[in-house]
Amino acid sequence: MSSDLLLDIKNVCASVEEKQVLKGLSLQIKPGEVHAIMGPNGAGKSSLSNVLAGRDAFKVTDGEIAYCGEDLLELSPEERAHKGIFMAFQYPVEIPGVNNLYFMRSAFNAKREANGEEPMEAYPFMMKVQQLCGELEMNPDFLKRALNDGFSGGEKKRNEMLQMMLLEPKLAILDETDSGLDIDALRVISNAVNSLRNTERSFLVVTHYQRLLDYIKPDFVHVLANGKIVKSGDASLALELEEKGYAWINEEV
């Protein structure tokens, strides 16, 4: 194995409630790369995101995942976050009663603490978040509300991007972040992602549609079907999929 990989997924099988969702999936991501995962509904796209983020219900039954050379599967969800994995959820959960700003500061400082840094005081933190709100064209009033509580679909996704920019991950997983978004929200979110792109940071963009990839140009495109990657290529593969749909993949495989 080459040591310059950020993420190395080897032949992973996973199941949820005894149903097999990943069936021998392999994928390698180097620092700075943007990978897009595309595929029909039920192919296992969200399962891959959930396995990487460490959701309990998804049991890895075979294979291994190395992240920065470390066994990812040994880590709790919060440890993964501390080490730079961030998942933007497809359906961010609503948590009434938990203040958004307070939540973000808790998350931000938990990561700093885990990395031996001093927690940030409330005031400078708020200034930082407010600035990010500006970049995302978000009304800072959102910070005063309960976490995702009563947010519209677009507002929730912006809130996810706000957290991503705040936590500055090494590997950001966007789980169908484009679903249900209008064109303005799509633009804002793509700008956020593009502004974070650099030679160190990698992205795994999970999407059903090519549309998002007009804004976020991937280095690699993989097609996921029936729990594994069945085809890989560059950005042109996405265009091909857009044109032909997913049916031909099944025929070809």
Binding site: D56, S76, A81, P92, F103, A107, A114, L167
Partner: protein, 416 residues
Amino acid sequence: MQVASFSPNWQALLDQPLISDALASWQKAARAELPELRFPSRRDEAWRYVPHRRVPKLKPYAEPSQVKPRYDHPSLEWDVYRLQCIDGVLISSDVIKGVRITPLSKCDEEQSRFVAHELSEKDAWIRLNQACLTHGFLIEVDAGIKVEKPLVIIDHTTSQVAKQCLNARYVIKLGEDASFDVIMHQSSDSDVLVNTVSVIDLGQRARFSSLRIQQMHSEALCFHQQEVIQGDCSEAHLGQFLLGASVSRDAVHVVLQGTEARVELSGTAFPRTGQFANIYSHLTHGVPHTSAKQQYRSIVHDKAQSVFYGRVHVLPNAQKTASYQHNANLLLGQRAQANSKPELEIYADDVICSHGSTTGQLADDQLFYLRSRGIPENQASALLVDGFAGVTTDPWKDSPAYDFLSDAIALRGKEE
């Protein structure tokens, strides 16, 4: 169980001094009736589940000769008025313009008639309160007076009155267009039984809020029954937070008898191991165009028990009633128990009434979301528990007691 059998020296309880001449005949009437009464039990719907077997033998109240004021009360840092009552003895009371605060013992005939208000809920505990009153106040806010700072009522008992039975009564009357806020902090550092009755009478367009925080000793018993009568266009906001006591029941009965009257209620019961906490709310929508919103929660530790009993009663002709009630219960320990009994009793048709009740544990997806952002599991649970209670404390954001209340809840979550 008959009341008389609850005290070894029952006569001593009834021989306590009467609180005043003006209230003497009213008290005597209750003393005559009391020995025949029976404490409410499982058979009484409103008291179902309350573990009466844990009520100790009642010991009469003896006024301590010396009482020290509390200099450490958190409200000393708040911008508020204060009324301090320790072990049933009045220590101090701020002067507020347009507000008369009269100890029950000093109420004249006319005031006493008001103090002797007959509550619509009747039971042996209310009669006991009437018969054996130990302390209390009549607070009258003149018409048009808008009191800018809340009044904190500190009702604290120390070990000087340990094991005794104290009966307090607070009667608050707001004139037309008056505005008044009360923060009632009830605490104790020993195993007393405090049986309190509050009566709130709101004139037309009056605005009132009462935030009640109960932090009694873990061996103490605490019963509180409150009746709120609302006139036309009046507005009330009531909070009940049960953060202590071995057995506690906090009851509120709001009678919306003026049109356009509005009430908002919120509260959290938080019994710890072995404790019992019961919130009882009863709304009577008596006339057309009244509205109510209720938000109650309970957080239940291992072997603890919470009870929520909410009655919404819409009388015939009370059209255009809007009444919403929600109750959620969080079970944190293996043998935690939550009982919920939301009731709608509706005799008018043009109404919108709803209630919801949920009982469960912390949601896995919420926990996962927080953890995926790097918040460690125990901190994430604590955050969710705070957030769960936060829905009931949020309406009190502008109260000077808000931080104190939030911290008290957070601390109670961490104590175990």
